[in-house]
């Protein structure tokens, strides 16, 4: 609080406070704006002098969203795909990280290279051949196919992220468990996995957010309207009419709400985990 008592320091703090205010405005302003917009009646939305708060709060946009669009269906589809992606990513990347870094399968050192390589390939390039591959597997136009594709893009990064966490657990713990007669599988589930929880949480949030926001693959590999995920459904809601801003703003709010709420609940762990994994 000395900043308040010494005038010199207070003056020097001004630029910093201005930058803080600007950053807050830039980051949170758009989210605030879409939120209050969706509570405005039509007449206020298309007013040429927008107000910072609705003059009259209304729920009519949300009522229309639920009554006239397939929003509830898109929502449940998105949950199916996001939870599916998260679970499969967890299983695949924990298994891979454990196998590579604990059971010393050759190639552990190459993970970063493989991660890098998978980012070098434009996703656009894969759309066409992947479509053919999924059709051959009978997975086109299905949530399972979409989960498979999502996992291919989340798992390498997650395996790499988990490495830092696994390497931080002393190998002596494994050795002690082995002396006590625990097999490698039991060591993995009962000893290493519980110590890995921060990493697991980070990877779970990452893959959930990835598949919740994924648009390109979802729009190409799902043909039935009934199977569309939220981003694709949201895009369709805009395209359908001359832009109905009431519907669009409320649909947008309800598309970002699930991940934002999830993040506000567990974001602290995610940030910690990302830092721990990435700076190791």
């Amino acid at each position: 609080m000395s900043a308040l008592t010494t005038p010199g320091r207070a003056v020097r703090a001004i630029p910093r406070v201005v930058v803080m205010a600007l950053l807050t405005l830039v980051v949170l302003g758009p989210i605030y704006w879409i939120t209050i917009s969706s509570f405005k009646p039509r007449s206020e939305l298309i007013s040429t002098s927008p107000t910072l708060l609705p003059r009259e709060w209304t729920l009519e946009n949300f009522e229309r969203l639920f009554a006239t669009t397939k929003y509830p269906l898109f929502l449940s589809n998105s949950f199916v795909v996001a939870i599916g992606t998260t679970v499969v990513t967890l299983v695949v990347s924990i298994a891979a990280a454990y196998g590579l870094d604990r059971l010393r399968v050759p190639g552990a050192g190459k993970i970063s290279g493989v991660v890098l390589l998978s980012y070098m390939i434009p996703g656009t390039l894969l759309i066409v051949p992947l479509y053919v591959t999924l059709a051959q597997l009978g997975l086109i136009d299905s949530h399972a196919g979409l989960v498979l594709v999502n996992v291919a893009f989340t798992a390498p990064f997650c395996t790499w992220l988990l490495r830092g966490f696994i390497l931080a657990i002393p190998i002596e713990i494994d050795e002690a468990a082995a002396l006590d007669g625990a097999g490698p599988l039991r060591t993995m589930f009962q000893i290493v996995l519980p110590l890995l929880l921060p990493g697991v949480a980070t990877v779970a949030v990452y893959s959930f957010v990835f598949s919740w926001t994924e648009f390109v693959f979802a729009s190409q590999f799902i043909m039935s309207d009934g199977l569309d995920t939220l981003p694709v459904g949201l895009k369709a809601i805009i395209g359908q009419y001359t832009v109905d801003w009431g519907l669009v703003t409320s649909a947008t709010l309800f598309t970002l709400l699930p991940t934002v709420l999830l993040f506000l609940a567990v974001g602290r762990f995610f940030v910690g985990g990302l830092i721990a994994g990435a700076t190791k």
Partner: protein
């Protein structure tokens, strides 16, 4: 050892099926003359590549991708560093910022593009009106060939800078306080301390972030496609958009594949050069 292989097998199989096999398929397609996706075609060796290399719009797209990459890295680096340095401080603002600064990243891309189109709308948009109030007419930025790309770069940076900010913040926390203190005692000001002490210590993390972030940025399709689909007049057609439109609007599958293979080669060379010349000494 057998168990180890069994544990690593799933990720290997998935990556072979979803990435490696389709990739080989794309290379194969690029050596043929396929037009409509999946239609009959003949083997033409490198003829399609010659066509792509001879197409001025391919080079224009590559140039725009270069601008896209530089613009995104510049804006995101400034935002991320600014945010990270402030998040490091004490107090309620910094403590809460460590969580909310990530929010733009968790907002789905489609929602990001709608939010900004809504705020920049020239009839009802709040940002448009705010600029109008101080005498600046933004016009319709996404419909303007000069401004469309820079404005989409800003929108995309808003969406992606949080990831970098958090990693930089984490890296800053690993810089020992005593080293900074020592520099301060030796009479270095904040700016000198940052460049002489903090920056070199951050180099390994910055190296990784720059490499992964660049590749990530370069290949972005959705932000651009959802706002302008590459227009107006190709002003926002970066390479991924070029590839997408070539395959799905122009129905020239082989040319799209050849352009993508060339993209991977360009990125590969750029990444190798970057690793060769920018890798911090001790790594």
């Amino acid at each position: 050892m057998a168990l180890g292989y069994a544990l690593v097998a799933p990720i290997v199989v998935i990556m072979l099926v979803v990435i490696a096999y389709p990739l080989l398929n794309a290379v194969w397609t690029s050596l043929r003359d396929q037009r409509l996706i999946g239609s009959d075609s003949d083997f033409v060796a490198f003829e399609t590549y010659a066509k792509v290399v001879g197409d001025p719009s391919f080079w224009a797209a590559l140039r725009r991708s270069g601008l896209w990459l530089i613009g995104n890295m510049a804006v995101q680096t400034v935002l991320a560093f600014g945010a990270a340095l402030l998040m490091q401080r004490r107090g309620w603002w910094a403590r809460s910022a460590r969580v909310w600064v990530m929010l733009p990243w968790v907002v789905p891309t489609v929602a990001v593009t709608i939010i900004w189109q809504w705020m920049l709308n020239s009839s009802y948009g709040v940002v448009y009106k705010a600029f109008e109030a101080v005498g600046i007419d933004l016009g319709s930025p996404f419909g303007n060939p000069v401004w469309a790309l820079p404005v989409i770069i800003l929108v995309n940076s808003w969406h992606w800078f949080p990831l970098t900010a958090v990693v930089v913040y984490g890296a800053l926390a690993t810089v020992p306080g005593e080293v900074i203190e020592a520099a301060t005692i030796d009479g270095a000001n904040a700016w000198q301390t940052f460049w002489a002490v903090t920056f070199p210590l951050l180099q390994p993390v910055l190296f990784a972030v720059a490499l992964v972030g660049s590749l990530w940025s370069f290949n972005i399709l959705d932000t651009i496609f959802l706002i302008t689909e590459g227009g107006p007049a190709d002003a926002t057609t970066t390479l991924p958009v070029y590839v997408y439109n070539t395959a799905f609007s122009a129905f020239r599958a082989s040319e799209a594949a050849a352009a993508s293979v060339l993209t991977v080669i360009v990125l590969g060379i750029a990444a190798l050069l970057f690793v060769r010349f920018a890798r911090p000494k001790e790594l």
